[in-house]
């Protein structure tokens, strides 16, 4: 009995460590990749001094942030101020528990995966508000409020667009959703949900960009027109925590897009080939998943390099008056089609 429990605890710990390791490695690579991709769009080099092709740049950044002075504003609310980066980091990590990168390679295969992710994803707004309030700075508060408004408005279309998929699959677990996309027409064209639910894909993609706080929905990150955002008063490692949390959001959001719409770790010709090869199958699945995830990440970086910022009232009107009706229409259409 005790042995069983211990084994389970050990399994759980290994899973947690594995998830955190996977995310951290990806985030480190992403900081380099973002700067390089944006630089190439700008027709310039990007970091190429720290290590070959600048690959050690994230390490250099980390060292720099570690050695910076930690400044706390005089009249800041200490508890809230110090807790906000931790909370941000924590709630950024939590959705990753229910997303799997291979069949069975998942930290917590709970039956209500999608519901869990939707619930936890909305908690990260709390960290933003804590940071904004705890800084005791007019501009941080304004920035934080705007961010909270944006996050709230885009959560609802996000969740609603997932409903169509859940209705088709009949289960809330992410493993089942990916397994449902493993077939292919004529053996070549994959039956991914992007083809079944194009409207939901558009809504989800836009909403996930808004949740991540990237251009074009840039209000939290660099509201440098006027206000400097909710993390103005943070320096050093706390700022690093916020940046880390933001990139983790980026990775998790892309992973979610891949899981829900792009078929997870399935590819039409290769997956049946390796299905019988034992542990090699897992490697191939992880490779396919990571490749698809980086494709989505690249597209998001390309969007960042191209588009301008939207205005605050346009952001809210796109969310409430544009995406929400589309998401609802998608639910209705899916229901009608399924019942036929």
């Amino acid at each position: 009995m005790v042995n069983e429990m211990l084994l389970q605890v050990l399994q759980g710990l290994i899973a947690v460590v594995a998830v955190i390791l996977f995310l951290s490695l990806n985030v480190l690579f992403l900081t380099w990749m973002e700067r390089k991709v944006i630089a190439r769009i700008h027709v310039r080099y990007g970091p190429n001094r720290a290590g070959p092709y600048g690959l050690l740049q994230p390490i250099a950044d980390m060292l720099k942030l570690l050695t910076k002075e930690d400044i706390v504003p005089e009249r800041a609310d200490r508890l809230v101020y110090n807790l906000a980066p931790v909370v941000a980091f924590l709630f950024a990590l939590m959705p990753a528990a229910a997303i799997g990168i291979g069949s069975g390679l998942i930290a917590a295969d709970i039956g209500v995966g999608v519901l869990y992710i939707a619930a936890v994803a909305s908690l990260s707004t709390l960290a933003v508000l804590m940071a904004a309030w705890g800084s005791n700075n007019k501009y941080s508060l304004l920035g934080g409020m705007r961010t909270a408004a944006q996050s709230l408005s885009y959560e609802i279309p996000l969740v609603l667009s997932m409903i169509g998929i859940v209705a088709i699959v009949g289960s809330l677990s992410t493993q089942d959703i990916v397994a449902a996309q493993s077939q292919a027409w004529f053996g070549i064209i994959p039956k991914w949900f992007i083809f079944y639910q194009p409207l939901a894909f558009i809504v989800f993609f836009t909403a996930v960009v808004a949740e991540m706080g990237r251009i074009p929905f840039d209000l939290p990150e660099s509201e440098s027109e006027l206000v400097a955002g909710f993390h103005t008063e943070y320096s050093g490692m706390k700022f690093a925590m916020f940046m880390f949390a933001e990139y983790i959001h980026f990775v998790v959001g892309s992973a979610l897009v891949v899981t829900l719409f792009l078929g997870g770790w399935h590819l039409p010709v290769i997956s049946p080939l390796v299905a019988e090869l034992g542990w090699v199958k897992y490697l191939v699945q992880v490779a396919i998943f990571v490749a698809k995830m980086y494709l989505v990440i690249f597209v998001l970086m390309w969007v960042r390099g191209t588009l301008t910022r939207t205005k605050v009232d346009h952001v809210l009107s796109y969310g409430w008056k544009g995406l929400l009706p589309l998401a609802l229409a998608n639910v209705v259409i899916t229901g009608v089609v399924l019942s036929i």
């Binding site: 027709v43 310039r44 191209t306």
Partner: protein, 151 residues
């Protein structure tokens, strides 16, 4: 109309513009390993040819910022009809920290003693005093040759 609006909303055309640029070679150069080549007329740092300078002082008079001063470097003697005329020989000294590189001094010099040195010049120094270029530094000498008279 609707088609245009949808096309705009998808932003597919702006994205194609930036995608094209992903595959172009970078337009920046890697300083300090690669240096840019300046054009022949580039106004970077003045160069003095002390053999041609006739000590007229036009450069000092024309400078709008008054950064050029004439420094006496010797007494020149000339025999004219069994008299010996002594004249001061002066060379310009420029305080590059105040110079705005307008080019009037080079333009007004009657003999062309002042000209532009147009190889890549890096003028940054650590102290303000090093930016004050005495005449021998402008002329390309390493140190002050000592009070020589003119030729």
């Amino acid at each position: 109309m609707l088609k245009q609006k949808l096309k705009n909303l998808s932003h597919i055309l702006p994205m194609s513009v930036t995608f094209k640029h992903l595959f172009r070679p970078p337009i920046t150069i890697q300083y300090p390993e690669q240096r840019d080549v300046m054009k022949p007329r580039y106004r970077a740092r003045q160069r003095l040819d002390d053999k041609k300078c006739i000590s007229c002082g036009s450069c000092a008079r024309v400078c709008p910022n008054r950064t050029i001063q004439m420094k006496v470097v010797g007494i020149e003697e000339k025999k004219v009809k069994d008299r010996v005329i002594k004249r001061e020989k002066k060379h310009p000294e420029i305080y590059l920290g105040r110079c705005m590189f307008c080019g009037l001094c080079v333009e007004v010099c009657p003999t062309g003693a002042l000209s532009w040195q147009n190889e890549p010049v890096e003028l940054a120094e650590y102290t303000r005093e090093e930016l004050f270029y005495p005449w021998w530094k402008l002329a390309g000498y390493e140190r002050d040759p000592g009070g020589e008279g003119g030729d």
